[in-house]
């Protein structure tokens, strides 16, 4: 299998100028993710798990190291140094990010949120509508909610919408930042089934889960932040 992500000595620290403080978030992280593989990252709170995902998604600017990504758009590219424009294109077309929080444009309906993700890739509105409806049904989001604003949704509904808008793009790489943290077991099972389906279609994933045992059967390898090594 080809490598899709190769992280070499990734380091990130925050320099808080106004407080005169230096906070180390993660240091010398190295690992490789292959195409179609699912890596789970484990470690205690504050160990830098989310920082790694945010550095890959470039919400954080890495301070050291390289994040080599084999993209369809640009070939092999270092995400740590890629231009803002390249990152915007990759986010729209290849890399998805799901957190436990739904962060969307206010006053936008669930249907519009999922549709927008398809439109961003460049498809026409008819295809976007069809795909959005398929995805919302697939995630068992009550049809009555499709044309309402998500601020009235329950935690589980928000999360399913969040994952739907990330998955509808059929990303090559999906970053999952504790997406099941606030979910009941039934909702977690639903997420697991969907992740299995995505994986079967070839999406590579890096995920952070508090209860990684729940992801048994989906997760291929586990990267431990404390040891800096993998357990299979």
């Amino acid at each position: 299998m080809k490598e899709i992500i190769k992280i070499e000595n990734l380091s990130k620290f925050f320099e808080l100028h106004n407080l005169g403080k230096y906070i180390k978030a993660c240091q010398n992280i190295s690992f490789t993710l292959h195409e179609g593989e699912f890596i789970g990252i484990t470690g205690k709170s504050g160990s830098g798990k989310s920082t790694i995902l945010k550095c890959i998604y470039r919400t954080y600017l890495p301070k050291g190291g390289c994040i080599w990504y084999r993209s369809k758009l640009y070939g092999v590219i270092n995400l740590a140094k890629a231009s803002d424009r390249q990152i915007i294109h990759l986010r729209k077309k290849e890399i998805g990010y799901v957190s436990q929080f739904l962060n969307v444009m206010p006053r936008t309906t669930a249907r519009e949120i999922v549709q927008k993700a398809v439109l961003d890739i460049g498809y026409d509105i008819d295809y976007a509508k069809e795909e959005a409806e398929n995805m919302l049904s697939h995630f068992e989001l009550d049809q009555e909610l499709w044309d309402t604003y998500p601020n009235t949704f329950s935690g589980g509904e928000k999360l399913r919408l969040n994952i739907a808008s990330a998955m509808v793009k059929k990303p090559r790489l999906l970053l999952l930042d504790e997406p099941t943290a606030s979910l009941d077991n039934e909702s977690k099972k639903l997420v697991k089934v969907l992740l299995e389906k995505l994986k079967a279609k070839g999406t590579s994933m890096i995920g952070i889960f508090h209860d990684l045992e729940f992801m048994e059967g989906v997760c291929d390898r586990e990267f431990n932040m404390k040891t800096g090594n993998f357990t299979v």
Partner: protein, 281 residues
């Protein structure tokens, strides 16, 4: 129509100063001027070597404190003020290699009427308050060479309808409108010639929250439907978070940081940007 991978607007080293400068402030390195004002000769350095690129269909946010040069930048681009020095190029205009700042006033008028739309913070700057709303839009169309009354009326009604001005109020003068309606008429006027670039200067400042939301939704809709490139100036980070793909941060006339909007908000690098982000209520 436009090459999406090439900037639609390129700004290089734009400088704008009010005053001639003196030996003290002129000889100083820009980094050494803590404020953009010389206490000896009273010169204000409003924009100092501002360089950036705006891409087709992109919304670029510009944030910074009051007096950081955001509005001056917009006024320079719209030729309301002459730049002291600098270059600006528009994709497709004279093979993309004509510096618009050094063009003749006739050409500047053409650029203003065909390539830029401008929405000011103060509607009194962008609208003729005693003309009807339709008349305001017709004025812009006449400036661009239109002479057909039927076409102009139809176009004005279409645009005003798109920004939710009721048909029975279209012939009313904007002086009778609320702040939010005036901003919407300004937006309609700015869009009348289908400009590829829209300049929005603090368009939601001073409006109450629900009206702000309407204006922001409208801007987002315009961008989605018409794929216009927008330069959005605001000191409100929430507005920038909602609208902008990338963001520029200005301080004392200089760009101190630029990047992806979520990166600027979650991982700001410059001390001032950190202070700004941490000031969010």
């Amino acid at each position: 129509m436009y090459d999406k991978e090439q900037p639609i607007l390129t700004i290089k080293n734009l400088r704008k100063q009010f005053g001639k400068g003196c030996t003290i402030c002129r000889d100083l390195d820009d980094k050494n001027i803590q404020k953009n004002f010389c206490p000896v000769c009273q010169t204000v350095y409003a924009c100092r070597d501002v360089s950036f690129e705006l891409y087709p269909a992109e919304i670029l946010g510009v944030v910074g404190e009051s007096g950081s040069g955001k509005s001056t930048l917009m006024k320079c681009l719209y030729f309301d003020q002459d730049v002291t020095s600098g270059e600006a190029y528009i994709q497709g205009y004279k093979n993309s290699n004509a510096n618009i700042f050094t063009e003749t006033s006739q050409q500047k008028k053409y650029i203003r009427n065909h390539l830029f739309g401008m929405v000011y913070q103060n509607p009194y700057l962008g609208l003729r308050m005693n003309f009807s709303s339709v008349g305001n839009i017709a004025e812009k169309l006449i400036g661009a060479g239109s002479r057909n009354v039927g076409f102009m009326t139809g176009r004005a009604q279409e645009l005003l309808g798109n920004v939710n001005i009721p048909i029975y109020r279209m012939k009313e003068a904007p002086k009778n409108f609320s702040g939010g309606m005036q901003q919407r008429v300004q937006i309609a006027k700015a869009l009348s010639n289908n400009p590829p670039i829209l300049l929005l200067d603090e368009v939601t400042t001073g409006l109450d929250l629900s009206v702000q939301a309407n204006v922001l939704d409208l801007i987002k809709k315009i961008q989605r439907d018409l794929k216009i490139s927008m330069l959005v100036v605001s000191h409100d980070l929430s507005v920038i978070r909602i609208l902008a793909d990338r963001t520029i941060v200005m301080l004392n006339g200089k760009i101190i940081e630029q990047g992806l909007t979520d990166q600027i908000l979650e991982d700001p690098q410059h001390p001032y940007t950190q202070q700004l982000v941490h000031s969010l209520l």
